[in-house]
Symmetry: C2
Subunit: 412 residues, 2 copies
């Protein structure tokens, strides 16, 4: 068999997805000699392993053998009920357990919504930059992307309005409104309202992806976009990955009819159901532990890390490099001078000389055209390592600043 | 919002999938007044809940907080290593852990292979009848189906040869060779060899779906089709759902390059990874328990149930109704006289009068055209209930036999 022959059998959806660059970055970032700001990792030391161990025990004690049988595709009703209450208390969204489906992390929810809506070539709007994992999911349905810029108040709704006017066929608008991945910015109240009005006007669905919502270090949360939904056009997604553990692979999706039933049918065709054992364990964890206290502990720890990174950026980064100051979440976004290719810089200079990794801009834009930026994660590392890594990174960027000729040679 | 407006936004892939009939059947079959042979359920009383509880405890004790972090998409290496050894010992397939990916049950493996290969309209061959869940997964990629009949030696390879000659563009051949779902038949040795030769000749991929392989009640197993693969064209799928527990949602996929890497990339875009906690628990279960002894216990229990069903079918079914005599697996397939619509019969007569449920033929054929058959599951119920249900079902079928006029009225 020749590999060339075999690849002729692959569907078009996978032929344009060259993930080799990204795979290489994450491979390099896993090298313990490097300080990696690339992954979006929670802090290992904050996982409540003992409480979760007790929760698995309790779930299996209570469920017995019947827990190990097939169960509903939509997921454990008592857990959905708890999430319905959480949606009311933490996102100002009034829904019942019937409006909620449990998924394999937020990622599966993104994939299922794309699968439900996107024919090949269908138009959709995404923020630029946006969550690269969402692009990977969307890419497999081959949409036509329209990129909407992000500023300090989130997605630029005026730009979106112009785009919808020019392309009224846009059927899906994807946004990460709370502590946006990768910029860390949060969509303003007025923009949330305006976004729903635009979706109503242009008959579009909004996919509100909000895994970082509870991780706020300053200020107070805004209502979810779903709160302003008047026509059942908003699908809200969140996840236990960042507030409890990503290894549980449990997210949830909130939607109205006819979307929710269609999404349940699609999940059934995709993986039948999620693990009843895991869902019962999470349900038990929530019954016997105060997850809001746990989240408060996370926030106290992550605030210190964010501040350490911002302080180091202030101190070690040159004046021609700008960065965001997020009030929560996992990420800070850095903008380099025009013309700098952050991916090339990473491979040629940053990794070999500074032994630091980040996620370069290009793979976080649907059109892959913006190159002068990168994403930094601050939750996965301790404050001392954060400071050391940013200092090393700043040393290279200061050098680029002083001598652009050398930088250009390095980037060639 | 009108539901009509919203459905205009749905992708074509979901518009042709009317699952309402099937949902209704499963809803009715869940009614405790009915005896349901519809689901493909293992016996609750055979799940090793205590051993699995200990396995979760051990996995979390060993893994500690790091277990709850993100991990590899391909899945826990030590578990993949155990499965590589199992593939050698139980399927005559020599592979390394690098050739294996862990999935959310066998269902996700089917979905990912379809996602990798199928453009809208691409040609594929499926058995007729076949596993309805596989059809649900394939349907979402909108292939052109070619149905290949199944006889007592499995897929009719002569028919496949003619089909491939007429349609050499067929790129994927899906088969359940061991205790086929829904007929229970097993593909002969010669046909396995011939199938691989045909795939080589016509540059096609074989998807070998084998979740029932270890559940044999008579005779000895044949090598997997993957054993005869000379060009890396066979993707083998199996699952812990039937031999351990479906609630673990853990299957595995065996493939060569370039397929395996492409499938890992697609899983990453679909749900990032499976649960490390679950995979570590299964790994611990396998390390501390003899799964082959557990499977031997399953087989002893399921053989009794199969025999109870075959005895009842012999006794209570009329001569114009035929059925298969599987040597393993979960299912028996029943063929009714030509012209009988098993779905209509179920809704009009069998459920209301006999309070028995089965899966009617139509939803198990890609073209939905064959109506005179149904699938019976024998693993989920006890022998007495099996006998009672088959007796009731036979009573109706005897009646159909005696007086076709009444039957036709009942079926109108």
């Amino acid at each position: 068999m020749g590999e060339i022959i075999m690849k002729n059998l692959f569907a078009n959806r996978v032929l344009n997805n060259d993930t080799s660059d990204l795979n290489e970055i994450f491979k390099n970032s896993a090298n313990p000699e490097n300080i990696s700001f690339a992954g979006g990792f929670p802090d290992n030391r904050l996982f409540p392993d003992h409480a979760l161990q007790a929760a698995y025990q309790d779930a299996i004690n209570r469920g017995g053998q019947a827990l190990f049988q097939y169960a509903s595709t939509q997921g454990l009703a008592t857990l959905r009920q708890k999430l319905a209450e959480r949606m009311a208390n933490h996102a100002d969204v009034q829904v019942t357990a019937d409006n909620i489906m449990l998924t394999q992390g937020g990622q599966q929810a993104i994939d299922l919504v794309a699968k439900l809506l996107l024919n090949h070539g269908d138009a959709m709007a995404v923020e630029g930059p946006t969550y690269m994992g969402a692009l990977a999911a969307f890419d497999t349905y081959e949409p036509t992307y329209y990129e909407i810029p992000v500023d300090h108040d989130g997605m630029d709704i005026r730009y979106l309005r112009h785009t919808l006017k020019a392309h009224p066929e846009i059927k899906l608008i994807y946004t990460v409104p709370d502590f946006h991945n990768p910029t860390g910015t949060t969509m303003s109240l007025q923009r949330r309202k305006d976004l729903v009005a635009l979706a109503n006007q242009y008959d579009a669905i909004i996919l509100e992806d909000s895994p970082y919502r509870d991780l706020r270090y300053d200020g107070t949360n805004l209502p979810a976009i779903k709160h302003f939904d008047t026509e059942g056009r908003v699908v809200f997604i969140s996840s236990f990955s960042k507030i409890l553990s990503p290894a549980l692979r449990t997210g949830w999706l909130v939607a109205d009819e006819p979307l929710i039933q269609a999404l349940v049918n699609l999940k059934s065709a995709t993986d039948v159901q999620s693990s009843s054992v895991t869902l019962a364990a999470i349900d038990s964890y929530l019954a016997h532990n105060d997850i809001d206290q746990h989240i408060a502990n996370l926030n106290a720890a992550y605030q210190i890390k964010r501040d350490a990174m911002l302080n180091a950026l202030d101190r070690y980064f040159p004046a021609n490099v700008s960065f965001t100051r997020p009030a929560g979440g996992f990420f800070i976004w850095v903008v380099l001078p025009q013309g700098v290719d952050a991916k090339q810089l990473l491979k040629d200079v940053i990794l070999p000389q500074a032994h630091v990794a980040y996620v370069p801009a290009a793979c976080q834009f649907a059109h892959r055209k913006v190159t002068n930026g990168f994403r930094l994660n601050f939750t996965g590392l301790d404050p001392v390592t954060i400071t050391t890594g940013i200092k090393r990174l700043g040393g290279i960027l200061q050098h680029l600043n002083v001598d652009t000729t050398v930088a250009k040679v390095a980037l060639s």
